[in-house]
Every structure is written in structure tokens, then in C-alpha cells.
Subunit: 397 residues, 2 copies
């Protein structure tokens, strides 16, 4: 993740520092307030922080207009009730896809203020996406009545691994038009706002533990099955980026030693047997063109034997790759996302069989497997969450 170059690393690189601790505690209080107003005493109880610490942080947040306070009584005693000025801090999420662009405005309470998505031609240049995103953002700000100075940052997701060291998309990515492109610098130039960039599968994982139903989960894997296959990891409660920022590349697990040649240069990778691209090609033989994901979903729902068989084979292969993932990092939950997520059990069932067949029994039995409830919005919501996790909320104005 490129954003780590400027903010996450500062936080996690020196986790014992006083400033990192203060930021963490600020985030905790803001998170607690997203479920409703609370007195300072309640905040102390719910966060485990001392009342003195809570009181100091509330003051800082109040000065930044992030929270408002009002006198109240609690058990007959005078107290201070704190509530979030949710719209005082707004995050922009942008999801750059191969054929689409999606932009969302979200507030501190994790409410969507405005959103828009549009189609883009396959193979469009990176600059085309960025210009379109800038235009859409201006429109959404007007529509939602959000002032530019209330934006704390912009999160951007792209469907390709990003090398931390250079801040660019690596060779062999699903978006060849973006390879070597320094998306962070380009977006900051165009938007004049703090920008945080991440891979789409990492953002899907982040959305599941922020917007999604898995907010208490410390170890979660999000798998995006699309024209590429990638995973995002939440480990010990935080996105995990490894040594150079390229993690979750399960699409390139070897499934068939002498299988098809993959765009990464290897053979028989999971992507060559389970991506929506290969499924569409297999099902589209004899038809004018390969099937898109929507048509695969339609045929499977209509009970097409060929579609069900292709999904079964793909699901088993994904499950086998996920067994190796589960054996290694023992997640609590694996969430499946991407354009086939609407299939539900029709896709989950073969994935589950593959997982149970290949995982160490105790791991297979203790790993929950589920479809994403966020659908096509997972990545863009994760991009907005990335901003709240990394931007300096109390000091943006």
C-alpha cells in the first residue's frame, strides 16, 4: 500500500511512541462515538482509557470541530455528553476498475453521503480514469453540500498490486495501462488533497471489518474473484502489507503444474482455472464472444449444466488455494467478493468443499466461509475507510 509510505508506517513503525498512541486513542473514541453520543465516563468505560485521557482527547477533537459536547446529568451527577459532528470530516473513496469507476463520499459515522458509478471502456488510459474521478468528485460535493475543507483525504483502490518501494503498480497486473504509473503522486497533483492508495482486494478486506458485518474480527481474508483473483488480509485487526506491499496474491497459487500459461509468467495458476475470464471463455465456446460475469451468474441461476460445472470446478480450485491460506494464517473468517458474489451458495458450496478437502481438519472446521454482503461496493467503501484509518482527523482543517 502506497499510503504506508506517508502515514501508516509512521504509526506502526514506532507503535510505542506517544504520538502514535494518541492517534490510536483518538480513533478509538471516534469509533465509539459512531454508535451514538456518550458521556465522557461512558467513553472511558467503553474504550478502557482513563477519564483524564478521554477528557484531553475530547478537548482536542472539539477544537477541531470533530465532536460537540453538551452538559447533561448521569446518575444524578453532572456529566458531559459527547457527540460526533459526523459531517465535519468526510472521506472520499474511489474505486478504479478495468471498466468502471465508482466514487463515494462518506462521513465519520460511516454513512454514505453521495455516490456515483460509471462505465469506462476496457483498456482506457489511467489519466482518463483520473480525470473522470475528479469530475465526479466535484459533482458529488455539490450534490451532498460538502465543503472541500471538510474532506480529510481521498482513498483510491486499483485492481493490481502496488510495490511500496516505488509506489507504482507492478508488472503483470490486471490493469496493464497502470503499470509503472505513480497513482499517488498523480492523484495528489490533481486533487490537492491527502491521498491513500491500496489494492482493491485489500480494500475489500478493510470494508468487511469497518462497514461490513465483521467489525470485531481480528483475522479475516477477503477474496475477490473477478478477471483476476486476489486476497486482502486483516491480521491482528489491521491490514497486512508484508515486506514490499504485495500480499494476498493467491491468484498465482499453482493449481495445475502443467496448466495454461498465466499473465504472471507461471503455469497453471489459480487465475487460469477460476477467474471470471477463463469461466467466460469456457462457457462461450462456439458463441460470438466470451461470457461476462453477469451472463455467467444468469446462466447458473437458470440451471445451465455447463455453467454449474464450470462454477463447481472453479470453486473447488479456489477452495484448495484457500486451504493453503487457512493452514498458514488461520483466519477466523474468509469472505468471498467480486462480481459472482450474488450467486451465494451456488459458488460458496464448491469453495467450501475444496477448503474442507485440503485444509488441516481443525483449521477447516474453525474457519467461517461467507459471501460478502457489500457486493460491488466493497472496494469503494474500503477506500473511504482507508482514509479514516490513516488520515489525521483531528488536525485536517
Amino acid at each position: 500500500m502506497v499510503s504506508t509510505l506517508r502515514s501508516t508506517m509512521n504509526g506502526t513503525g514506532n507503535p510505542g511512541s506517544q504520538s502514535a498512541l494518541r492517534k490510536l486513542n483518538e480513533q478509538r473514541i471516534v469509533e465509539t462515538l459512531t454508535s451514538g453520543p456518550a458521556t465522557q465516563a461512558e467513553l472511558a468505560r467503553q474504550t478502557g482509557l482513563s477519564t483524564a485521557t478521554v477528557s484531553n482527547i475530547v478537548k482536542v477533537l472539539q477544537d477541531a470541530n470533530v465532536v460537540a459536547t453538551e452538559p447533561t446529568t448521569s446518575s444524578g451527577r453532572r456529566a458531559l455528553r459527547v457527540r460526533l459532528n459526523s459531517n465535519s470530516a468526510v472521506a472520499v473513496g474511489i474505486d478504479f476498475g478495468r471498466r468502471h469507476l465508482r466514487v463515494v463520499l462518506a462521513n465519520l459515522a460511516y454513512e454514505v453521503l453521495a455516490e456515483e458509478s460509471m462505465s469506462l471502456p476496457l483498456g482506457h488510459r489511467a489519466d482518463v480514469s483520473i480525470s473522470a474521478a475528479v469530475e465526479v468528485l466535484d459533482r458529488l460535493l455539490l450534490e451532498a453540500g460538502v465543503r472541500r475543507e471538510d474532506i480529510v483525504g481521498v482513498g483510491a483502490g486499483i485492481p493490481g498490486p502496488i510495490d511500496h518501494r516505488s509506489g507504482t503498480v507492478v508488472q503483470g497486473a490486471i490493469l496493464p495501462e497502470w503499470v509503472g504509473f505513480h497513482i499517488l503522486a498523480r492523484l495528489e497533483d490533481r486533487l490537492a488533497l491527502p491521498v491513500f492508495v491500496d489494492n482493491d482486494a485489500n480494500l475489500g478486506a478493510l470494508s468487511e471489518v469497518t462497514w461490513g458485518p465483521h467489525s470485531g474480527v481480528g483475522n479475516l481474508v477477503f477474496v475477490k474473484i473477478g478477471s483476476g483473483i486476489g486476497a486482502g488480509l486483516i491480521l491482528n485487526g489491521a491490514p497486512f502489507y508484508g515486506h514490499v506491499g504485495i500480499t494476498g496474491e493467491i491468484g498465482h497459487a499453482t493449481i495445475a503444474e502443467h496448466g495454461l500459461v498465466c499473465r504472471c509468467g507461471n503455469r497453471g495458476c489459480l487465475e487460469t482455472v477460476a477467474s471470471t475470464t477463463i469461466m467466460g471463455e469456457l462457457l462461450g465456446r462456439g458463441e460470438p464472444e466470451p461470457l461476462g460475469p453477469d451472463e455467467i451468474v444468469r446462466r447458473a441461476r437458470a440451471g445451465s449444466a455447463a455453467a454449474l460445472r464450470v462454477l463447481d470446478d472453479a470453486g473447488l480450485a479456489v477452495g484448495r488455494a484457500l486451504a493453503a491460506v487457512a493452514n498458514l494464517i488461520n483466519p477466523e473468517v474468509i469472505v468471498i467478493g467480486g462480481p459472482l458474489a450474488d450467486l451465494g451458495e451456488q459458488l460458496l458450496d464448491p469453495i467450501r468443499r475444496g477448503l474442507l478437502r485440503h485444509a488441516v481438519p481443525v483449521i477447516g472446521e474453525t474457519t467461517a466461509l461467507t459471501m460478502s454482503a457489500l457486493g460491488a461496493r466493497a472496494e469503494v467503501l474500503g477506500a473511504a475507510a482507508l482514509v479514516f484509518q490513516n488520515a489525521d482527523i483531528a488536525h485536517h482543517a
Copy 2:
């Protein structure tokens, strides 16, 4: 890891708490002092802590007799020099093997004060190991002149995954005599000391970033190739345990879909093609009994074509499994340990070829692969390090 039930979890579960922070800062100062005495100002500079924090912690450590101070001058000004009373806090490391027992006494400066190893019959009962460990420990304390009250804790490693929820070794482990056995409770009963238990591969990983040459490495994988194959993970600078405590089970990655049946109940697992057990069986055909690891090493060094071919096939399979590991978590370093580690390049070479063949190119190129420099002592030294990482050094007496 069972120890997390009592200490690590308290630390990492609430990383923003004041007490967790104080403990982390204490550990930092102790670690800094292991490279020699320093003034309080130097400690502040080297740890990044404020001089007030350093001064408070030094006082606490002095009260606990962990450090001693003496007046000195620095740049003409009066200062306080702090040095470690290394032997005031001693850790016991115990490595329980299938056929061996190894015990070590180590001090805060990561110096070995005494150690002993012994052979045990294959298939011996867990209680036999524990009784032997208690006897050896008494002997070592006498030999090194260490008082029982200076022991801050006992770390124990066993070659099998431990389920956090029950604190017992899980079914299918390499040590069937230990399955379901509550090692932590039994050791605490016998020793009347704080005990921390972990899997042997996890301890190997910990030893590489504490005793070994990789102390600055945040993301490291230690692979033990023995009669079983397992990995230990250091992620973001700390041992990683996942949801129920069973991580790094790469020995059960499926390599040959229709291969041999594995003790875990699956087929074609890495262990069925690359453990020292299967190598010894393959090379021992027509001989009175299977070859042990030492004999495999001897024949490979003598240039036996069969031994070299078996090592080549095993190494390629290990490399292929490690490619999936590297693609997923992108470690900086992978260290190979276990009884074949003395082979060096003879084993590393095929592992490297397998890794490069199957990893995403940028990941294969950026992952360092090396043999462990700690040899057969990796696990027992990691067990001692586990104590210093988890025990309450400043308050043990």
C-alpha cells in the same frame, strides 16, 4: 500458543493501554542495554522515548534489580550510566522433541549460561519428558550457580500445533503421545514457575529475530524440515498466531492431488513428499531400516546420486509450497531449519528453484532465502526468548 492465554493476549489485545505501553517500553530499554551500558540520555536517543519516561523506567528496573546505575559524566555534564544486571533475570528454554530433550538457561543479555541435551526413546510418554526436564533443570541451575528466584519463566517448545482454546496439542500432531495433553498446566504444576508454551517452528522463527542474525526483520518465515514440516511466522515484528493458534501448517499444502495419504487425513501433502521420514524411506529401500536425517546428510555430502535426487525433488516441493507462502504474506526472509540445515546450498538450491518457479516474479526476487545459523539449538533458544518476550521481567521477584 498457549502462553497468549495468559500474557501475550493481554499485551496485544489492548495495545493502546498504558500498562501494555509501559511493558513495551521496558522491553525496549532492556533490549537496548543488551548491547552494553548506556547513559539515560543515550537510552532516550536510541529508543525514541522521552528522558522522563526513560528515567521512570530505569527506576522501576533498578528497584527490581534488573539494572544497576552509576554516576558518570557525558560531554562534561553529570549523567547516570545504566547497565544490565544480566543474571538477575534468567529464562529457561526447553525443547521437547520426538527423540530428544534440550534445556538451556539464558540471561537478559541473550547469553547461554548452561545447556544440556539428551536422547529419549521414540514414542516415550509426555510425562517421561517432563520429569527428565525437571531433573535437567535442577542440574543446570546448580552448574550455573543460578538461584531459583532469578528465573523469570520457562519457555517450552513441542513439535505440534497447539489449540489456543484448549491449551492442548491437536489431533494429527507429529507427537501422538502429546495429543490432548495440557502441557502448560502440567509444567506449571511440576515447576511452580510461570510457563509459556509454543510450537517448535514458531520458536525457531522467534529465535531468528532474537538470537539469530535477523533481529531487524519485521516479516520472517522459519521453516522446519524434519519428520514433519511446519513454519513459524514473524509478522510486523511479532510471532503470529491467527484465530485458534494453529498457523504455519505448510506441511499440509497439497502438492500431489492423488499422492500418498498423510497423517492429517488428506492426500499428497508436502510432508508426504519432503519430510525426512519419506526421504529416509525412499533411500532405505532394500536396506534393513529407513535412513535417519544424519545418514541422509552423510550420503548427500558423499555425492550419492540417489540422495541428491531425493533432496532435489523434496527441495523443489518445499520451494513450491513456499512460493504460495511468499505470494500470500510477502516476507522479507525465509529461513530453513531442521536436521538437514547443515546441507546448506545442497538443499537451498532446489528450494530456491522451486520458489522462483512458482512465486509471482517480483515476490520471488525480493524474498531472501537462507539456512538457519542456529542449527539444532534454534527451538530451545527461541523457547528462552519467548520468556523474555512475555514474562514480567521487572516484577518477577
